[in-house]
C-alpha cells in the first residue's frame, strides 16, 4: 500500500497527486501513525541542493525526534548531509539547523560526531550557530554524561562569548551541566551583568538566578553590620544605630563609623549586579520581574530591597496563575520585610471574584502586614470577608483574625469579642472555626475569660462540627476551675451522648472526665467511671486504649499507685500557649521564585542558595584583560555618535565596556575582513544583513559610555590642578584652610561620580604597574592614563593658583581656565568708573567665576584699574561701603601706587546674598572718592556643581511645582549646534554641564553661592528649532531671572 493516499486523506489533502511527499508533515504526528517508508522523501529532500528544502526536511526530523519517534533509520542520511555537508554550509541558519537536528538524535552511537559538531559550532562565526551549540550541550549531556569534562570546556569557551544571543543559552547549559563550577563565571561576571539588559527574556531569568547564587558565594553580606549589631548590641559603642543603618547604604559612612571593625564596603561588582538588574523590574515578563525581585531580596542591603515591592504589586494584575506564584513569594517576603509592602496594603484587598486560592494567599499577606497602626483597617476589611459566600475563605479569615490577635496585643480583646459574636453565626463551619481559634486565644490568658468559656459550654448543645466540640471540651477540662459549676454538667451531657460522638470528641470526653475527676472527684466520680466503661467497649481501639490508660492513671489501685500520685501533674500541667504563625515563616531558606520555595520542599535539581561567606574571596578573579588596540579603534569610532539604542549603563556605570561592542566596531573598522585577527569570534556578523542595526546598537551604547568616560577623564584632570592649588596655597599659609575647603566642596560633589574610579584603583593591584597600562581590565578606569587613549582636545591646564590670586596677579585670559565646571568666563568686562568721571582713573570689572578664596559664599570680582592720567594715583582702596542688608564685601588689598599709563588688577569678593541688588561702595584714592556700584547678572550668583544624570533627575524631582519655571522659545538658526548652545548658556550663567543621554537635551546644574540652593537648568531643543527651557530652583526669583537671561542670550 502506497503511503500517499492514506496521508492525503488524513491531512485533508495537503499533498497533491504527483507531488513529492514533502507535504506530509511528520511534525503533526501523535495523531497520525508514521511509516518508515516516508523517510525516503526526507532523504530525498536532504539530498537536494535547495536550501529551503533541506531546512524543511530537517525541521521535520527534529519534530519527529522531539516526539520520541524512532528516526534512527534516517541517521545515515542526516549524518551524511548534515554532519558532513550542512555543518559547513555557508548559510548560518542551515548550519544551525543541522546542528539542532544532529543533537536531537538520541542515539548513543553519534555521541562522538555530536561532540565534534558542537565543538566546531562553538567557534563558529555566527552567534546564532554558537547559540545552537549551547542548546546542544545539555542534549549531549543527557545522552552521555561521561562527556562532562569536554562539555565544560565548550561551556567555558561559550561563556566568554560576547553576544547577547549566546549568553542566555550558555548559562542555561551551564546550569544543567555544571552548576557547581562557579569558577567559570568569574571572568565573565562583569560581562554578563552588562549584557543582561539586552538578553532575551528567558535568558535573563536563567542568568539572574545563576548570578544570585554566584553573588552569594563571592560577596559579603550587605547586612552583616546590622546583624552583628542586633546580636550583640553592647558592641555598638562606635555610633548610634542610625549611623549603622546608613552604613549599609553608603560605604563611606560605614567606613567612618566603624574604623576598628573591618568596615563593610560593598564590592563594586556586587553593586554592578544590583544596578544592572534594577531596570529589568520594568520588564513585561513576570518571570524576569520575579527573578530580579528575588535577587534583590537575597542580595541587596535592607535599605534598597524596597524597590521591588512596586513591581511585584504590579504583577498582581496579571493572570491568576502569575498572581498565585507572586503572592506566595510576597507572603514570604512580607514576614521578613514587612515595611516593604505596607504602603501597598490596599492592593491586597480581596475581591469577591478572586479564586479561593488567591483569596487565601492575599489574606496571608494582609495578616503578615497587619501592625499596630493599620490593624483597625485590616480588621474592618476582615469583617466584610466573614460575610462572604465562600466558606473556605471565611474559615481562613477567622484563622487570620486569630493570628492578628496573637501578634498584636492591643486588639486581642476586640478580636476575641468579635469571634465570640461569630459563635452565634448560622453557618456551622464559621462557628467551628471560631471555636478553634478562640481556644487558642484563651490559652494565652484564660483567667479573664470565664464568661467566654461559659458561653462556649452552652454551645455544646448546638455545634455539631466534631473539631469544634472537641475544642470546647478540651477548654472546659483545662480551665475547669474557672467554671466549677458548669463543667460537671457538660460532662453529664456528653456522657449521655457519648456513643453517638465522633472519635476526637470521645477522646476529649475522656480527657475532660479525667481532669474533672482529679479536681472535683466528689461530683464526677460516678460520671467518670461511666464514661470510662463506655469507652472500654468502644469500637475504636484508640479510644479503648485511652480509656484503659486513663483509668490506670487516675483511679488509685494497689499496683499503679506510683503513677496515680502524679496524675494531677500529668493531666493538669500548665501548657504553653500555641503560637499562631504563618506557614510561610522560614520559607526564605529556599531561593525565592523557585519551584522549591513554592512547594516548600526541595525539588529535584534545586541548587541550594549558599550562605554569605565570612571573608570575601579575592575580587580580582573577575578582572578581565582586554587587548589595548581594540580599545583604541573603539575610541576613534566612538566619535560617530548615534542615538543610544538600549544602553546597559546607568549614569555611573561609565567604566563598563559594553562587552559585545568591541568586536563589532572592530569589524567595522577593519573593513570586515579581519575575522581572524584579535579575538577569535569577532566580525562574525559581517555576512549578515542585520549588521547595520547591530552596529548602531553597539556604537550607541558605546558612544554614550565614551562620553561619560571622557567626562571622567576631564574631571580627573580638573582635580589635579585643584590639588596643586591647594598645595601651593597652604605654602602661603594665610588663607589655605578656606581654599582647601573650597576644593573639598567640589570634590565632594564629584565623589559619587568618581567613586567607581577610586575603587578600581584599589582592586587590581597590578593595574598601576607600567606594563599593565596595556592590559587594562574590562572595567578599569585607569586606562585614561595610557597616552594612546588620551582625548585629543584636552585644553592646556592652567593652574588656578590661589596664591596668584592673592597677589592680585591677573589672569588676563579667563578662557584659559579649563575647568569643566566653568568652561567660559562670565560676562566680559564692564565699566565701573569711566575714565572721564574718574579723572584719568578707569576702572572695569569682570566676574572671574573662580571661587573666591576668602569666603566661598562670595562672588569673586576682578577689578581692572588703569591710569590714563599723567600723575600716578596713590592709595587705591575701598572706602566704607554702604550696603543693603546681607551684602558684604571683601575688599581688595590697597594698591599703593599706580603709575601713569600703568594698569593693575585686584580681586574682591562680594557676597550678594543671592540677590541681584547692587553693591554700592566707594573707591578711594588718596585724593578722591568715587561712588561706584556693581550689579551682578543673576547668572553670576551661582557656582557650577557636577552631578550625574541620575542625581540631576533626582534633584529635579524634588524641585517641582512652584520651584519649576518653564518657558518655550525658538532657537534661531545660528544657535542650533551643541557647541553654541552650551557656550551661550554657560556664558549667561555660571553653571556646570550635566551629562545627558540624548543629543537634543542640555542640562546644567549649579548652586547659589550664599545659600547653596540648587539651580537646575534643562534645555530641551526640538529639531524644528523650538525649545523648552526649564529651571528648577528653590529660589524662585533667581529662577525667573535666569530663565529670562538665558532666553535672551539664546534668542539673540
Amino acid at each position: 500500500m502506497s503511503a500517499a493516499p492514506a496521508y492525503s486523506e488524513d491531512k485533508g489533502g495537503s499533498a497533491g497527486p504527483g507531488e513529492p511527499e514533502y507535504g506530509h508533515d511528520p511534525a503533526s504526528g501523535g495523531i497520525f501513525s508514521s511509516d518508515y517508508k516516508r523517510h525516503d522523501d526526507l532523504k530525498e529532500m536532504l539530498d537536494t541542493n535547495k536550501d529551503s528544502l533541506k531546512l524543511e526536511a530537517m525541521k521535520r526530523i527534529v519534530a519527529m525526534i522531539a516526539r520520541g519517534k524512532n528516526a534512527s533509520d534516517l541517521f545515515p542520511a542526516v549524518v551524511k548531509n548534515v554532519a558532513c555537508k550542512n555543518i559547513e554550509d555557508p548559510n548560518q541558519l542551515i548550519r544551525a539547523s543541522a546542528l539542532r537536528v544532529l543533537s536531537s538524535i538520541r542515539v548513543p552511537i553519534i555521541v562522538p560526531i555530536m561532540m565534534l559538531a558542537i565543538k566546531e559550532a562553538a567557534s563558529d562565526m555566527s552567534p546564532y550557530v554558537r547559540k545552537t551549540a549551547a542548546h546542544a550541550i545539555p542534549k549531549l549531556y543527557s545522552l552521555d554524561s561521561d562527556q562532562k569534562d569536554q562539555l565544560i570546556e565548550v561551556i567555558e569557551k561559550l561563556l566568554a562569548d560576547k553576544t547577547t544571543l549566546v549568553a542566555g543559552s550558555v548559562v542555561m547549559a551551564f546550569e544543567e551541566v555544571c552548576p557547581e563550577r562557579i569558577d567559570l563565571i568569574h571572568k565573565n561576571y562583569r560581562k554578563l551583568c552588562n549584557l543582561l539588559i539586552d538578553v532575551e527574556e528567558w535568558g535573563q531569568v536563567v542568568i539572574i538566578s545563576m548570578l544570585t547564587r554566584y553573588a552569594r558565594t563571592q560577596f559579603l553580606s550587605p547586612t552583616q553590620n546590622e546583624s552583628l549589631l542586633e546580636e550583640n548590641p553592647e558592641k555598638a559603642f562606635y555610633g548610634s544605630e542610625e549611623d549603622e543603618a546608613k552604613g549599609a547604604g553608603s560605604e563611606e559612612a560605614a567606613a567612618t563609623t566603624l574604623p576598628a571593625r573591618k568596615p563593610y564596603v560593598m564590592d563594586p561588582d556586587h553593586r554592578l549586579l544590583l544596578r544592572n538588574t534594577k531596570p529589568l523590574l520594568q520588564s513585561r515578563s513576570a518571570a524576569v520581574v520575579m527573578a530580579v525581585a528575588q535577587l534583590y531580596f537575597h542580595l541587596a542591603p535592607k535599605a534598597e530591597v524596597g524597590v521591588i515591592a512596586k513591581a511585584l504589586v504590579r504583577l498582581l494584575r496579571s493572570h491568576s496563575e502569575v498572581q498565585y506564584v507572586v503572592l506566595q513569594n510576597v507572603a514570604t517576603m512580607s514576614i521578613k520585610r514587612r515595611g516593604m509592602f505596607e504602603p501597598y496594603l490596599k492592593s491586597f484587598y480581596i475581591r469577591s471574584t478572586d479564586p479561593t486560592q488567591i483569596k487565601i494567599l492575599k489574606l496571608e499577606v494582609l495578616t503578615n502586614l497587619a501592625n499596630e497602626t493599620n490593624i483597625p483597617t485590616v480588621l474592618r476589611e476582615f469583617q466584610t470577608y466573614i460575610r462572604s459566600m465562600d466558606k473556605d475563605f471565611v474559615a481562613a479569615t477567622i484563622q487570620a483574625i486569630g493570628r492578628c490577635a496573637t501578634n498584636i496585643g492591643r486588639v486581642r480583646d476586640t478580636c476575641l469579642n468579635g469571634l465570640v459574636q461569630l459563635l452565634s453565626n448560622r453557618d456551622e463551619l464559621v462557628v467551628a472555626e471560631s471555636v478553634v481559634v478562640i481556644k487558642k486565644l484563651l490559652q494565652m490568658q484564660p483567667a479573664q475569660h470565664g464568661e467566654i468559656i461559659k458561653h462556649l459550654a452552652k454551645l455544646t448543645d448546638n455545634i455539631q462540627v466534631p473539631m469544634a466540640r472537641a475544642s470546647i471540651l478540651w477548654l472546659i477540662g483545662e480551665y475547669c476551675e474557672h467554671v466549677p459549676r458548669i463543667a460537671p454538667d457538660v460532662l453529664r451531657k456528653m456522657a449521655k451522648s457519648f456513643t453517638a460522638e465522633e472519635d476526637i470528641v470521645k477522646l476529649q470526653v475522656i480527657n475532660l472526665a479525667a481532669k474533672l475527676y482529679l479536681t472535683n472527684s466528689k461530683q464526677t466520680k460516678l460520671l467518670t467511671q461511666y464514661v470510662l466503661s463506655l469507652a472500654k467497649y468502644d469500637q475504636n481501639y484508640d479510644i479503648r486504649d485511652r480509656a484503659r490508660f486513663t483509668r490506670q492513671l487516675i483511679v488509685p489501685s494497689e499496683q499503679g499507685g506510683a503513677l496515680s500520685r502524679h496524675a494531677k501533674k500529668l493531666f493538669l500541667a500548665p501548657k504553653p500557649a500555641p503560637v499562631l504563625e504563618s506557614s510561610f515563616k522560614d520559607r526564605d531558606h529556599f531561593q525565592l521564585g523557585s519551584l522549591s520555595h513554592l512547594l516548600n520542599a526541595k525539588a529535584t535539581g534545586y541548587q541550594e542558595l549558599p550562605d554569605w561567606p565570612e571573608e570575601a574571596p579575592d575580587p580580582s578573579v573577575r578582572n578581565v584583560e582586554v587587548p589595548e588596540w581594540t580599545k583604541c579603534s573603539n575610541r576613534e569610532k566612538r566619535k560617530e555618535k548615534e542615538k543610544p539604542f538600549y544602553s546597559d549603563s546607568e549614569g555611573e556605570s561609565g567604566p563598563t565596556e559594553s562587552a559585545d561592542s568591541d568586536p563589532e566596531t572592530e569589524s567595522e573598522s577593519d573593513s570586515k575582513s579581519s575575522s581572524e585577527s584579535g579575538s577569535g569570534e569577532s566580525s562574525s556578523e559581517s555576512d549578515n544583513e542585520d549588521q547595520d542595526e547591530d552596529e548602531e546598537k553597539g556604537r550607541g551604547s558605546e558612544s554614550e559610555q565614551s562620553e561619560e568616560e571622557g567626562e571622567k577623564r576631564k574631571m580627573k584632570k580638573k582635580k589635579v590642578p585643584e590639588g596643586q592649588g591647594e598645595g601651593s596655597s597652604s605654602d602661603e599659609g594665610s588663607d589655605s584652610s578656606s581654599s582647601s575647603s573650597e576644593s573639598e566642596m567640589t570634590s565632594e560633589s564629584e565623589e559619587e561620580q568618581v567613586e567607581p574610579a577610586s575603587w578600581r584603583k584599589k582592586t587590581p593591584p597590578s593595574g598601576k604597574s607600567a606594563s599593565a597600562a596595556k592590559e587594562v581590565s574590562l572595567l578599569d578606569l585607569e586606562d585614561f592614563t595610557t597616552p594612546s587613549v588620551q582625548p585629543v582636545s584636552s585644553p592646556t591646564v592652567v593652574s588656578t593658583s590661589l596664591a596668584a590670586d592673592l597677589e592680585g596677579l591677573t589672569l588676563t585670559d579667563a578662557s584659559l581656565v579649563p575647568s569643566l565646571l566653568s568652561p567660559v568666563s562670565g560676562v566680559g568686562r564692564q565699566e565701573l568708573l569711566h575714565r572721564v568721571a574718574g579723572e584719568g582713573l578707569a576702572v572695569d570689572y569682570a566676574f572671574s567665576r573662580q571661587p573666591f578664596s576668602g569666603d566661598p559664599h562670595m562672588v569673586s570680582v576682578h577689578i581692572y584699574f588703569s591710569n590714563s592720567s599723567d600723575a600716578s594715583i596713590k592709595g587705591l582702596h575701598v572706602g566704607t561701603p554702604k550696603l543693603p542688608a546681607g551684602i558684604s564685601i571683601q575688599e581688595f588689598p590697597e594698591i599703593e601706587s599706580l603709575a601713569p599709563g600703568e594698569s593693575a588688577t585686584a580681586v574682591m569678593g562680594i557676597n550678594f546674598c543671592d540677590s541681584t541688588q547692587a553693591a554700592n561702595f566707594q573707591l578711594c584714592t588718596q585724593t578722591r572718592q568715587f561712588y561706584v556700584s556693581i550689579q551682578p547678572p543673576v547668572g553670576e550668583l551661582m557656582a557650577p556643581v557636577f552631578m550625574s544624570e541620575n542625581e540631576f533627575k533626582k534633584e529635579q524631582g524634588k524641585l517641582m511645582g512652584m520651584n519649576e519655571i518653564t518657558e518655550k522659545l525658538t532657537l534661531p538658526d545660528t544657535c542650533r549646534s551643541d557647541h553654541i548652545v552650551v557656550q551661550k548658556v554657560t556664558a549667561t550663567a555660571n553653571l556646570g554641564r550635566v551629562p545627558c543621554g540624548t543629543s537634543d537635551e542640555y542640562r546644567f546644574a549649579g548652586r547659589t553661592l550664599t545659600s547653596g540652593s540648587l539651580v537646575l537648568l534643562t534645555l530641551d531643543a526640538r529639531p524644528a528649532g523650538t525649545a523648552q527651557l526649564t529651571v528648577n530652583s528653590e529660589k524662585m526669583v533667581i529662577g525667573t531671572m535666569l530663565v529670562k537671561d538665558v532666553i535672551q542670550a539664546l534668542t539673540q
Binding site: A27, A63, A66, S142, L165, P279, A286, Y344, P355, Y646
Partner: protein, 418 residues
Amino acid sequence: MIHSLFLINSSGDIFLEKHWKSVVSRSVCDYFFEAQERATEAENVPPVIPTPHHYLLSVYRHKIFFVAVIQTEVPPLFVIEFLHRVVDTFQDYFGVCSEPVIKDNVVVVYEVLEEMLDNGFPLATESNILKELIKPPTILRTVVNTITGSTNVGDQLPTGQLSVVPWRRTGVKYTNNEAYFDVIEEIDAIIDKSGSTITAEIQGVIDACVKLTGMPDLTLSFMNPRLLDDVSFHPCVRFKRWESERILSFIPPDGNFRLLSYHVSAQNLVAIPVYVKHNISFRDSSSLGRFEITVGPKQTMGKTIEGVIVTSQMPKGVLNMSLTPSQGTHTFDPVTKMLSWDIGKINPQKLPSLKGTMSLQAGASKPDENPTINLQFKIQQLAISGLKVNRLDMYGEKYKPFKGIKYMTKAGKFQVRT
C-alpha cells in the same frame, strides 16, 4: 526545562500533547485530574502540582488547561509565563484560541510549538519571528496549499532570528503607513456599602497597531509623564531614554503589540465615574426580599458612560427574582444565581434603575451576606488619569505615516459591596 505539554479541555480530555524531550506518558495527567476534582472550580486548580517524578504547571485560559510537565527545578513563573505566551501566540495565529480551532490547525500548532522550544528551553517566542518561520494560516493559503501541496513553513530563511531587533521582521512593506495607539485605562475599585471608596487604582496600557514600512524609529512623548507611577515595557522600548527623558523611544514590532502598561498609584485620587445606589434587603419573616439598584454618572468629565453591565452573584437562598428595569435588559439564572443587567448608555437625565422582589426559599433563614455588585462600563475618548500623549515622531524613514491616538476608560475589577 519544559518536558512536555498537554492540552486538556474542560471535560477532561487530553486533546493534544507535545514532547520536547523524551515522551512522558499521559497518565501523568491523572494527578492533574485529581487536583481538578478537588478544586471543584477550574480557576481553583493549583497552578503547580507536585507528583512523585514530575511537576505539573498549568494555566487555564479559554476553557483549556495548558499543562506543562517538568522534571527539575525551574522558576515556576518561567513556565507559566511561557505557557501564557503560547496561548497568546495561538491567539495571534488563529484569532481565537479554542479547542476546535487548535484541532483544525494541528499542523501549524505543532510547527509553532516545535519552534518555540528547543530541548525544553524557549527558542523563538516573538510572534514576528515565528511568523517568518511559519506563516499563519489564511483561507487563501489553505487553498493554495491544498492545490500545490506546500506547507505553511516559510520558504525564506528566517533571518529575523539573527537580528538585534528580534521583535521586528525585516523587509516590511506597506502602501498605507499607519500607526495607531490606544490608551486604555482600567479602574480597579472597591466601593463600600456607604458609597465611599476603599481602594481605587488605575491600570493602563498602551496597545499599538503599527504598520510601517522599513525600520522606523518612533518616539512617543507624553504631556504629563510623571503621572505614571510604575511602568513595564515591551522589550523594544529603550529604557535609558525613559529614565532620562520620560520619552518612549522604540523600533516597533510589526503589527499589534502592547507597548507599555502602567499603573497610576493609589495615592493619587482616582475619579470614580459612576455610582451605584442599592437597596437590597431580606426579611426574616417573609420569603420575599426587596431589590433595587440605580446607576448614575459621577465624575465623567462630560463624557457618556457606555456599555454598562451590572452583574451580581446572588446568595444561594434566592430562588428567583422578578425585576423591572427602566432601561436595558436583565437576566437571572436560577441555577448559578447570577444576575446580569445590561444597561447600555447612561442618560444622566433619566437614571437607569432595576427594581423588584426576590423570592427566597420558604422557611430558610435569611442569607447573612449581601451580594457584591460588579460593574462594567466604558467611556470613550477619556483617559481617566488625565494622561495625554503629546506627540509621536518618526525617524529613520522618509515617508509620512498616518498617526492616530485613541483614549478609552474601562472598568477593571470594579466592585461595589452591599
